[in-house]
């Protein structure tokens, strides 16, 4: 009997300890697992390392987690947002550290971590400040940087529809980092608008096979960052 369904977001994130590393899906608001992030705020874990493309916006979701002073490090490609001062203030204060990674290198490092590829050579960022302190090597007359696979203790991601085996499909550009983060985390937790019995998802269209998912939570009407911000929500 395999059933990865959890009763609610709170139980899905209950065991995340202080000091955990957590990959958080989403690019902008698309794919941001708001309800899992709010459950994590309620839960109280701190000193977290967050691996995510952005740092959230407004004072909801990922930005709210930062604002609650739970995040001491982010590994990120684009922490600035037009409508949030949360990360800039924590960064300038020195509370939250930043490891800045080019977006494609971030995606590839996460995929490598999930695929058992320890490190790889990429042409991205050669000759830039982000190449400082990195090993480089020439192949066929071109220079490449050595980048290391990235793994995490947990992944919090958002899908459209899952089954109890953990197979997941996504909605449009909300897919973004979720499939590779599901691969790279020790414990991968997905929230989806619908959770079905095995057999409802066509095996040809599954994007994330269940082997990469540990816990599934049904969140029938997930919030969007922009809607919460427009409504003036500041979580909690």
């Amino acid at each position: 009997m395999i059933n990865k369904r959890m009763p609610n977001a709170a139980e899905a994130v209950a065991d995340i300890p202080d000091g955990a590393s957590i990959m958080v899906g989403g690019f902008g608001e698309a794919g941001s697992p708001i309800e899992l992030l709010h459950a994590l705020i309620d839960q109280g874990a701190e000193d977290l390392t967050i691996i995510s493309n952005n740092c959230g916006s407004g004072e909801v979701g990922l930005a709210a987690l930062l604002k609650a002073r739970r995040v001491t490090k982010v590994i990120c490609s684009f922490p600035k947002t037009a409508n949030s001062t949360v990360f800039p203030e924590l960064y300038r204060e020195g509370f939250t550290q930043l490891e800045l990674v080019p977006q494609g290198t971030l995606a590839e490092r996460i995929r490598a971590g999930g695929a058992g590829v320890k490190a790889f050579y990429t042409p991205t960022a050669v000759g830039t400040p982000l190449a400082e302190d990195k090993e480089s090597r020439d192949f066929d007359g071109r220079t490449y940087l050595l980048e290391h696979g990235l793994t995490a203790d947990f992944a919090l991601i958002k899908g459209l529809h899952a089954d109890e085996h953990g197979n997941v499909i996504y909605n449009k550009t909300a897919r973004n980092f979720a499939p590779v983060m599901a691969m790279a985390a020790h414990t991968s937790i997905v929230q989806t608008a619908k959770v079905s019995a095995p057999g409802e998802l066509d095996p040809e269209v599954v994007v994330t096979p269940g082997i990469f998912i540990d816990r599934v939570v049904e969140v029938p009407h997930p919030a969007h960052e922009s809607e919460l911000i427009a409504a003036g929500v500041s979580y909690p």
């Binding site: 490609s77 080019p102 494609g104 290198t105 995606a107 960022a125 000759g127 400040p129 897919r175 994007v207």
Partner: protein, 224 residues
């Protein structure tokens, strides 16, 4: 050189239209945020371009009608977009495999500085206290077959963006192929900046004056 007569080059839309003329039919293109997005409005008759957005969509279409926005269908600039017939969604590692693997034909980017050897700086002023953010720019310039820069020739305060060597932190070294500004179209060549076209009624001397490096005029040989 006369600077007493106000010089008016191409407007933003004319710059985008001029660039679009140089894109072959059937090209796969990534449009940077800002002026580059305008290029999609000026596709020459009879050509089809396919737009890639690095957050996982190939076949990006125009903005949706009001009320039809989907918060989960956005582009790299986080604006609402649509998907054209023949589109495909994919995850971020696949998206940057397209970029890094050389599958895209053209990246059109904005710039803070471009050096005469094609170095590009467009992500950071390097000021202390600035919040660093790089996004996908370094991946694009390292991987895409051709890199076109679409930018005003100078900054808002009149500083030249085309320089002998960049003072801002680099996005990539020797990566720019061609620059489209309000004043000229300029190739990066082994001999440096080579103007290939000057905006109507703009004296070449003015373009040279607004450029902080030697600029070869359109009529002169590349190999001189």
């Amino acid at each position: 050189m006369s600077t007493s007569v106000p010089v008016q080059g191409w407007g933003r839309e004319a710059m985008a239209r001029r660039l679009a003329q140089d894109i072959p039919d059937g090209s796969y293109i990534n449009l940077g945020i800002g002026i580059p997005e305008l290029v999609a409005r000026f596709v020459p008759d009879g050509r089809t371009f396919i737009y890639h957005t690095e957050n996982g969509l190939l076949g990006m279409g125009p903005s949706p009608a009001e009320g039809q926005e989907d918060p989960e269908l956005i582009n790299a600039g986080k604006r609402h977009v649509t998907a054209n017939p023949g589109a495909a969604y994919f995850h971020h590692a696949d998206s940057f495999a397209m970029i890094r693997g050389g599958h895209l034909d053209l990246s059109i980017l904005g710039a803070m500085q471009i050096s005469q050897s094609g170095d590009l700086a467009n992500w950071s002023t390097g000021q202390p206290g600035a919040i660093p953010a790089v996004g996908g720019a370094m991946d694009l310039v390292a991987g895409v077959k051709k890199v076109f820069v679409l930018t005003q020739h100078t900054t808002k305060t009149g500083e030249p963006k085309l320089v002998e060597s960049c003072t801002y932190p680099l996005t990539g070294q020797g990566v720019v192929d061609r620059i489209y500004t309000d004043l000229a179209v300029i190739d990066i060549t082994p001999a440096g900046f080579q103007a290939i076209e000057i905006a109507p009624d703009v004296p070449f001397e003015h373009v040279q004056a607004m450029t902080n490096a030697k600029l070869t005029p359109p009529s002169a040989s590349l190999s001189e």
